[in-house]
């Protein structure tokens, strides 16, 4: 067995439920990704981006004295090609997800009885961006044209993506001047793949430009469309209360875990789980009903819209099965570990793949077809319920934390002023005054090579202390939810005095859950609206904000990082080795070079303390550049309800005097 040092559960995760289940795994001798990460040494050549596998003359390992491949490809070009392939794959993933949602919208518009337009106002807004006439036409007609217009963005023949005009004017000009304004979603992905083919684009800087263009097609194209169209179909998120962590699994109910990224089927499963027929069937098998819980971004999608609890993040997918309490894990696309199959086989758990794009050998495939969505959802639930009687010993760690999620940019706008005065003014004011020092978006994955959730917990707690407002999506968001950072009470406990005042004024948690990883597009919209609101410069790059993925692992994370940088943000990828490390020149191009070109920079920093330090320094630099007051927490903290609690402790007479005002 173990040839290398294997981490103890406490070394492998900071999450109590995960630790308990890793111990369980040891007891029952079950293998997880944590163990495999310890077993497998990452390929050092690949880690530095120096393995060139782009033709059959190789693979060429550009290490030691070798500074050129067989064709003469330099380290710079090889490193960028590897990076570019990842960006293309990441952009393709989010964007293809967006395309699926567009087809679902089209189905809804064409009379599919299962799908409805739940947010017509958002439909009208999106219609305006996409140049679709609203007038007094029927909603379905508009929805159909919006779906077709959205699909058109993927294969747009000429011009550029319509959503680009949602960016600050200055930003748009930068893109156009540099020639990186994306023209069509598919085209930019294809072109990037083309340009990384053997013997093609062999200028690192030039290739990096296309990386940005391709990533922008994701952020301001595929992802943004995915978010918008999902909101139109299933509702724009507004605050919901829910719970997070594996303790949400119920011993007395059929537990169905929804895992992946696309909510189109999961939304229907949520509805079907409450169907009396399904409930009755579950009861017939001895369960009280069906309990849904989510993992990864499908979880986030149905959390923010339906309040379905979060079972955990990426690294908890296997652990969920280890509880022995999961009858079915329903997966759609992305971030699904093949290692689930052998684990599920050890339990009664049905691993069900549903996407036509994703089959996993050994899993049950019940293919999703939007025209038969409800039928398939019920079939899935029947399968799960049928497994309930086979449930063996159950080990559900009793850890779960409350949270408030659902912070779409539309809701944030409302939260800051209501129906009549909604705007980003109070947020901008808070940053200008220095109550909020800056904003950090901590997004992205978990990585099995790191101590699970440790970096997320650390950076978030540090930022809160320093009055930095944190917004999160994806698995990072789930980490904070489990840690209890997403309750309104957390503001009182963890936030600095200025941030606490702002949170208390609005009633928000100090960490805002903004949705799935595809919803990072919401963050772009928020940043653009902050610019429009004035007071924080005239471009995204002027805002005292930092983006980061401190436990990143997926190619999507690199695509997101790249579109954030190209949109003007400072982005730090944390935890693991820099995949550009093989070329100092490429590292220069993506830091100083990109900063000159687009005002943002991409850095890979392993040490979380360093991440926090660099972030705060960047925020303070941006504050200074805007001429804002220096951050000084001593000035803040005087508002809030504490005064009333103090009054309650006064003697009766004095209390009356204080609240009612003694009158003579």
């Amino acid at each position: 067995m173990a040839k290398k040092k294997v981490r103890t559960p406490e070394e492998a995760s900071r999450d109590a439920a995960a630790i308990a289940l890793l111990e369980r795994a040891l007891q029952i001798n079950a293998e997880t990704c944590f163990y495999r990460a310890d077993e497998i040494t990452p390929c050092p050549i690949g880690a530095d981006g120096l393995c060139c596998r782009f033709c059959a003359m190789g693979p060429c390992r550009l290490v030691g004295d070798v500074d050129m491949g067989v064709c003469g490809a330099t380290r710079d070009v090889v490193v960028v090609r590897n990076f570019a392939r990842a960006v293309a794959a990441g952009a393709a993933s989010h964007s293809d997800h967006g395309r699926s949602v567009a087809y679902t919208l089209l189905a809804a518009a064409e009379g599919n009885p299962v799908y409805k337009i739940r947010d017509p106002y958002k439909l009208f807004e999106v219609a305006r961006y996409l140049g679709v006439k609203v007038g007094d036409r029927p909603v379905e007609e508009i929805a159909r044209d919006v779906a077709i217009a959205a699909l058109g963005e993927f294969g747009r023949i000429e011009g550029e993506l319509l959503y680009l005009k949602r960016a600050p004017v200055k930003r748009q000009k930068i893109w156009r001047d540099l020639g990186i304004a994306p023209r069509a979603v598919d085209r930019e992905v294809v072109e990037l793949l083309h340009r990384t083919h053997m013997g093609n684009d062999q200028d690192a800087d030039h290739l990096l430009d296309q990386c940005m263009r391709c990533a922008l097609a994701d952020g301001w194209g595929g992802s943004m469309l995915a978010t918008d169209l999902t909101d139109i179909l299933f509702g724009t998120p507004a605050p919901v209360r829910a719970e997070a962590n594996l303790g949400v699994l119920r011993e007395d109910m059929v537990n169905v875990i929804i895992h992946g990224h696309e909510p189109t089927l999961s939304e229907i499963i949520v509805a079907a789980a409450q169907d009396p027929e399904i409930v009755a069937y579950a009861q017939s098998k001895g369960a009280k009903g069906v309990n849904l819980a989510g993992i990864c971004c499908t979880a986030n999608e149905i959390l923010v819209r339906e309040g379905v609890p979060l079972a955990g993040n990426f690294l908890q997918q296997e652990l969920a099965i280890l509880t022995g309490a999961v009858e079915a894990m329903v997966v759609d696309i992305q971030c699904i570990m093949e290692g689930l199959v052998p684990l599920a086989n050890r339990f009664h758990t049905a691993l069900i793949t549903t996407s036509p794009k994703v089959k996993v050998a050994g899993a049950l495939h019940l293919e999703f077809d939007e025209h038969r969505a409800l039928e398939i959802a019920k079939q899935i639930l029947h399968t799960a319920i049928d497994r309930f009687p086979q449930r063996g010993e159950v080990f559900v760690p009793n850890y779960r934390s409350p949270l408030v999620a659902g912070f779409s940019h539309e809701y944030i706008n409302y939260a800051l002023g209501g129906s009549y005065r909604g705007s980003f003014r109070p947020l901008n004011d808070a940053i200008v005054a220095g109550r909020i020092r800056g904003v950090v978006a901590d997004i992205g994955c978990n990585n099995a090579r790191l101590c699970h959730d440790e970096n997320h917990y650390y950076v978030v707690s540090e930022f809160l202390k320093n009055d930095v407002l944190v917004v999160q999506t994806g698995c990072g968001a789930i980490a904070s939810a489990k840690k209890g950072y997403m309750t309104p009470e957390a503001a009182m406990e963890y936030a600095g005095p200025g941030l606490r005042e702002v949170c208390e004024a609005i009633g928000i948690p100090p960490v805002l859950h903004m949705g799935a990883c595809v919803d990072n597009s919401r963050i772009l919209t928020v940043l653009s609206q902050m610019v429009t609101e004035t007071g924080l410069g005239d471009d995204i790059s002027d805002i005292p904000a930092v983006g980061m993925a401190v436990e990143w692992m997926s190619e999507k994370a690199l695509a997101i990082a790249t579109y954030c940088v190209a949109s003007g943000a400072y982005v730090i990828m944390g935890g693991v080795r820099n995949p550009l490390a093989g070329s100092p020149e490429v590292m220069r191009l993506t830091t100083e070079g990109w900063e000159q070109k687009v005002g943002g920079r991409l850095e890979f920093v392993e040490d979380p303390k360093e991440i926090v330090g660099r972030s705060l320094a960047h925020i303070d630099r941006k504050r200074a550049a805007l001429g804002l007051e220096e951050y000084n927490p001593a000035k803040w903290g005087k508002s809030g309800d504490w005064r009333m609690r103090q009054v309650l402790e006064l003697p009766f007479e004095a209390r009356i005097e204080a609240v009612y005002g003694g009158r003579k």
Binding site: G507, I508, G640
Partner: protein
């Protein structure tokens, strides 16, 4: 918000909306859906509802959708733990509260329960410039104010924009003591801040407190008692809404713009005195939607982050904790804080006299019974004269009282008085003498207990017994003038000296000199015609309120507010070269009859932000000048009569156009160019250039009787100039007819010239 405030405000909102709904059901049952609902003298229906919903409420049944709207804005209060956000929700509840409160006041009007009855209460004075001798003792007694009417709103307009009136304070509840109440109000008055009063604590209102202390309340003293419950707070918010509609050129239903207009341009705040209950919290949430912060004199949670309001939202300044020994000083601190929180810009000139000083006291009336002494009027002669003299002949700050004081004059008696102000300054011009001299009226009136009426040699000044007891004497007139001329006109006046003359011989000598100067000025003014100058002046003072309006002021056409003529503008430009009055080179005259000038057109195009590109100076029919909302009169074409009517803002009656002044004002104001309708200053009526392209004064077929009476002499002269000495009698007014049929009959009967003039169209 804070969760505590959110909880209480949301609770209050739910309760008041339910109450409004119940009241509405009762009114529907008792009065029926068609029973009329209206506030007094306003063209804006129930103004908050009208502004927010673009929905004119005229009868009880109209309130049904209003209550439905209010209900749709309600939310449940936040939970004790694990709450969801509440700021937006609370503000929505605040708006629901305002809709419900206004609906309630509307229904109360239908029942005759508003304005609130208050036996024994009497509002002070009136806005018009009449002699105190003609007051009626019973005028307006027994009621609180209720909503402010459109007339008053407009007449305050110019003061609100030029900064004389920096904003308004809504005082809600009851102060700790009567002394504290008086101190707070005096502190606000001293800064010329309008004081609005309402609400109570356990049945006792600040209105009761001030009433007991004999504080004069009414439009003239800048203190408006709306009503003794919290619901009356809707009146100041209605005032705020109408400000945006009247001066901001905004349309009903532009709710966001109306609220932001108030946040950025209307410097209002609320001071909550005593316990803040659920309804007060709910109402405050509504006020915060307007950007108005709240300062409480009790312990409540503070909301300091900014954004919905410009600065802090809610401040707690418990009276006991204010570190000052007396109520007066505590009041000063509290008001100071309120001003800071709202960002009100207050210019305050310290005038070293023994009585309080500020423009809020300008409207005070000194009744004969309260009078120590008077100068001018029937029994004596007073005059005032300002002249420029060479620099070396002025000893700055020298104040001479030449002759006896009033010590020996019996109480209630009269004596002759002359006030001679001599100024010197490098930028002073003889043309500015009358501009500065006219300020003496405002400057002297600012002293509490002193009343000033008239100008030149018909000035009439009274000193009250109270002021005299406090030690006010003749020298103090000099102190006031010295301080104010330096403060307000320091840019053109370097040195000021004042002679207060009671010595009979000198009085006669100086009166003769003054009259000589008045004559000279009259002749000079008569010579000052548009053709004689090559520069007109702009006035964009009101752009802070009406962003696309620009007045063009020529020697023969004064500003529509009546407050700025060509000389005023010239002086103002000298005082502040980058200020609101800029010279406009007339440029090439394109049409001397209609008054088209290339320079004027170019200037207006820029100043109106492209909204207006051509202005005819002398025509109402073609490209008339736009208006902000402060106009003294509205001129409107009556096509059937081939003439125009002139409605004064003091006239609330119906007109032959089928609309009252308030309704007409909506068409004339907001920087819009509407041929056939124009807002003007009343003295423009006497100008030979009045509608000169369209036939001049002889086009006037109908005119508010207020104008006929108050300008009788001037208008008579105009009629003579027009060659028709009886013309004024041929012009109808609201006492003769208020419809076109009656008007035509009257014109026929009198043979009005307009009927035979060339057709207007």
């Amino acid at each position: 918000m804070s969760r505590y405030i959110a909880t209480r405000a949301i609770r209050g909102a739910n309760a008041i909306v339910a109450e409004a709904e119940a009241l509405l059901q009762k009114a529907l049952a008792e009065k029926g859906p068609d029973a009329p609902v209206a506030f007094t003298n306003t063209a804006y229906y129930l103004p908050v509802i009208y502004g927010m919903m673009a929905y004119p409420v005229t009868k009880i049944g109209d309130l049904v959708p209003v209550i439905e709207k209010a209900k749709s804005l309600l939310h449940p209060p936040p939970d004790e733990n694990w709450w969801v956000p509440y700021l937006g929700e609370t503000l929505d509840c605040g708006m629901a509260t305002l809709l419900a409160e206004e609906a309630i006041e509307g229904i109360r009007f239908a029942y005759g329960e508003q304005p609130e009855r208050y036996p024994g209460f009497r509002m002070t004075g009136s806005a018009s410039f009449t002699s105190p001798e003609f007051e009626t003792e019973e005028g307006g007694g027994g009621y609180l104010n209720g909503p402010i009417d459109d007339i008053q709103l407009r007449s305050w307009g110019i003061q609100l924009v030029d900064g004389r009136m920096p904003g308004f304070a809504a005082l809600l509840g009851a102060a700790r003591t009567n002394q504290a109440a008086v101190a707070l109000v005096r502190e606000l008055q001293r800064r010329n801040i309008l004081v609005f009063l309402m609400g109570n604590v356990n049945g006792r209102s600040i209105i009761d407190q001030l009433h007991e202390e004999g504080v004069e309340m009414g439009y003239d003293t800048y203190i408006v008692p709306f009503g003794r419950d919290t619901i009356a707070t809707i009146y100041p918010l209605g005032f705020a809404t109408r400000s945006a509609l009247t001066f901001g050129g905004l349309k009903p239903g532009q709710w966001r713009e109306i609220l932001l207009y108030n946040k950025y341009r209307v410097f209002a705040f609320a001071i909550a005195l005593g316990e803040v209950d659920d309804l007060k919290y709910a109402t405050a949430a509504g006020a915060i939607c307007y950007g108005f912060p709240v300062i409480a004199d009790t312990v409540i949670p503070q909301i300091l982050p900014t954004g919905v309001t410009r600065y802090e939202h809610v401040i707690s300044m418990p009276w006991e904790e204010i570190d000052a020994p007396t109520d007066e000083e505590k009041a000063a601190r509290l008001v100071q804080k309120a001003i800071e929180v709202r960002g009100v810009k207050v210019k305050i000139t310290e005038v070293p006299i023994p009585v309080p000083y500020g423009s809020a006291f300008e409207g005070e009336v000194v009744r004969k019974a309260d009078m120590r002494v008077e100068f001018g009027g029937r029994a004596s002669r007073a005059f005032e004269y300002l002249r420029m003299v060479p620099m070396e002949q002025v000893e700055d700050g020298k104040i001479e009282v030449i002759g006896p004081g009033f010590e020996d004059v019996p109480v209630g008696g009269a004596m002759d008085l002359g006030i001679v102000v001599e100024v010197a300054g490098r930028k002073m011009q003889e043309d500015f003498e009358p501009v500065l001299e006219r300020q003496i009226h405002y400057f002297i009136n600012g002293a509490s207990g002193i009343q000033h009426i008239g100008q030149r040699d018909i000035a009439w000044i009274r000193i009250s017994k109270t002021a005299a007891e406090k030690g006010f004497n003749l020298r103090h007139f000099g102190d006031i003038l010295y301080a104010r001329f330096h403060a307000d006109f320091g840019a053109i006046v370097d040195k000021v000296q004042v002679k207060i003359i009671t010595d009979p011989a000198l009085h006669a000598e100086w009166l003769a000199k003054a009259r000589e100067a008045y004559d000279r000025r009259n002749r000079r003014l008569a010579d000052l015609v548009d053709e004689a100058v090559d520069t007109f002046y702009s006035c964009v003072l009101c752009q802070s309120f009406a962003p696309t309006h620009c007045c063009v002021i020529s020697p023969q056409r004064l500003g529509l507010c009546g407050a700025y003529n060509w000389l005023d503008c010239k002086a103002s430009y000298e005082i502040n070269p980058t200020g609101p009055n800029q010279p406009i080179a007339k440029g090439q005259c394109l049409d001397s009859v209609k008054g088209y000038f290339t320079g004027v057109n170019e200037y207006v195009r820029v100043a109106s932000q492209g909204k207006v590109d051509t202005v005819a100076m002398y025509s109402i029919m073609e490209n008339p000048m736009t208006a902000c909302g402060c106009f003294e009169c509205i001129v409107m074409v009556i096509p059937e009569a081939n003439g125009v009517m002139v409605v004064s803002r003091e006239d609330p009656s119906m007109t032959p156009a089928g609309m009252t002044f308030s309704t007409l004002a909506g068409m004339a104001g907001g920087g819009l160019q509407t041929p056939g309708v124009m807002g003007v200053g009343k003295y423009y009526l006497t100008s030979p250039k009045f509608l000169s392209a369209d036939g001049g004064f002889r086009r006037v077929v109908w005119m508010s009787s207020f104008l006929k009476q108050t300008m009788a002499e001037e208008l008579k002269a105009v009629c003579e100039r027009e060659g028709d000495p009886d013309l004024l009698d041929k012009i109808a007014d609201e006492t003769i007819c208020t419809d076109v049929e009656g008007l035509l009959a009257y014109l026929e009967e009198k043979g009005h010239p307009a009927l035979t003039m060339p057709p207007l169209f």
